[in-house]
């Protein structure tokens, strides 16, 4: 974390931005459930609905970081519950590796979170966002790949 980050974090107007890629069949429905159940969670998240978590090309994640996201969440159905049967197994392999690559090249691993959230787990979705916001507040703004520095 650089000096700028610390300054910006102390500046009370800074709010972490999270881009969440949610699988249509489980996690998006889970987020929806959090909404209709009126669960409270921080409004720092922008949701992008994808057909399957395996649709999330790692380039989506980098692009989000480049365009100002401080954290990225990829959420899909629990392994074994994929609507397309095997999609999230590919996600798991791919993102396990990609996360390590990000960390190796200087990203804080907390900035990319992968979570399995089913359609019934509205509470889990709200918790995940809460958790991420807290972690990102500690980390400060992402500056590694940001385009407008």
């Amino acid at each position: 974390m650089n000096k700028n980050g610390a300054a910006e974090r102390e500046n009370s107007t800074w709010q972490p931005k999270i881009v969440a890629f949610l699988c249509n069949w489980c996690s998006y429905a889970g987020a929806d459930l959090a909404g209709v159940s009126r669960l409270k969670y921080p409004a720092n998240v922008r949701i992008i609905r994808v057909p399957c978590s395996s649709r999330v090309n790692p380039q989506f994640i980098l692009r989000a970081f480049q365009r100002g996201a401080d954290g990225v969440l990829v959420a899909g159905c629990h392994p074994g519950d994929c609507h397309y049967v095997t999609g999230n197994y590919f996600t798991r392999r791919r993102l396990m590796l990609f996360k390590r690559l990000l960390e190796f090249t200087g990203f804080a691993p907390e900035r990319l979170k992968v979570r399995w959230v089913s359609a019934a787990e509205g509470g889990r979705f709200a918790e995940t966002i809460k958790e991420m916001v807290e972690e990102l507040r500690d980390l400060g703004p992402n500056r590694v790949m940001r385009e407008e520095k």
Binding site: P58, Q66, Y89, M96, T105, G106, A108, M145
Partner: protein, 321 residues
């Protein structure tokens, strides 16, 4: 080295007489301690062919440009893996190409050799003496110990006698790998850095990249006909392309992380990407890191022709909650 060169020329002449239309090998380069790709189409041209520890370029990707001909190509052990890659991805038809294997005593790191010899040395002969190469320079013999002067990829090489080739020239070469060499040493050192220093290290490295794409052009695993970094889209859609043509640090990060990830599980480990980089970006650090992670996370036995990321296993670690 003389025997290999001679039998290479003999084999080349024979193949060209037997109907091979193009023989791709090496000729002495225009600079000292350097070889260049050499394209032979007539038997009388084979006298230009050489093989010595400066024949570093991987010639396999050139076959792609001559897919309509009957081609024979010279391969070292590490180049051989690139053939498998391109065949598995159906860019090459193995039945149409003749692989001419050369026993390899390792490749010398040109910069280090030249630093020893001084500018513009005239290298008259090269001899492989097992643990060292002996170069004759102006009548004088200079010994280059392999452990100190080989390219890094050779220090860990276990395949210097290419397997599964159609023609093998020369005698089998003794192993070149240095038993003390640890390919992960540098990677572990970077991993052990505090996060901020690690970030600073890569920022410096990636900041240097010119995005000339030489590393992509030379890579046998980068075989897509259209590259994600250069989509053919009309001007008004340029904003929709993944990265801009302009060189910027965020786009350099994007390029390197994705390039490395696209070859993850498919990289042949030939180190050509790193060799051709004009600004010395240590690309093999990324390639080797990914290969090591794949091996430790998904097991070394994963032998899918399309690479470790095209398959999955129910037994993969479930580290995401």
């Amino acid at each position: 080295m003389k025997e290999i060169t001679e039998s290479l020329r003999r084999e080349a002449a024979r193949l060209l007489n037997e109907g091979v239309e193009l023989f791709i090998g090496y000729a002495a380069g225009t600079r000292p301690a350097c070889a260049r790709p050499f394209f032979v189409t007539k038997p009388e041209e084979v006298t230009g062919l050489v093989f010595d520890p400066f024949c570093v370029p991987n010639l396999v990707k050139y076959i792609l440009r001559h897919a309509d001909k009957k081609v024979a190509v010279v391969v070292k052990g590490c180049d051989r893996a690139a053939v498998d890659r391109l065949v598995a991805e159906r860019h090459l038809d193995r039945a149409r190409i003749t692989l001419v294997g050369v026993p390899c005593g390792g490749m010398l790191a040109r910069e280090r050799v030249l630093a020893e010899l001084g500018p513009n040395p005239r290298i008259e002969a090269v001899e492989d003496r097992g643990p060292s190469f002996v170069l004759r320079v102006r009548g004088e013999e200079r010994t280059f110990e392999k452990r100190k002067f080989l390219m890094e990829k050779c220090l860990g090489c276990t395949r210097n006698n290419p397997a599964g080739v159609d023609v093998m020239v020369g005698k089998e070469a003794p192993p070149v790998a240095d038993p003390e060499y640890d390919p992960l040493k540098e990677i572990r050192a970077i991993e052990a850095l505090p996060a901020a220093e690690r970030a600073a290290f890569w920022e410096k490295v990636f900041g240097r990249c010119l995005r000339c794409y030489a590393c992509r052009e030379v890579c046998p695993a980068c075989s897509c006909t259209e590259c994600t970094f250069e989509q053919a889209v009309p001007g008004w859609q340029q904003g929709a392309t993944w990265i801009s043509k302009a060189k910027s640090l965020p786009d350099n990060y994007h390029y390197h992380l994705i390039r490395a990830f696209h070859v993850a599980g498919r990289c042949a480990g030939c180190a050509e990407c790193e060799r051709v980089c004009p600004v010395g970006i240590p690309l093999m650090l990324l390639n080797r890191k990914l290969a090591a992670d794949i091996a430790s996370l998904f097991g070394e036995t994963e032998e899918d022709p399309c690479g470790a990321l095209c398959v999955y296993s129910l037994a993969d670690p479930d580290e995401f909650e």
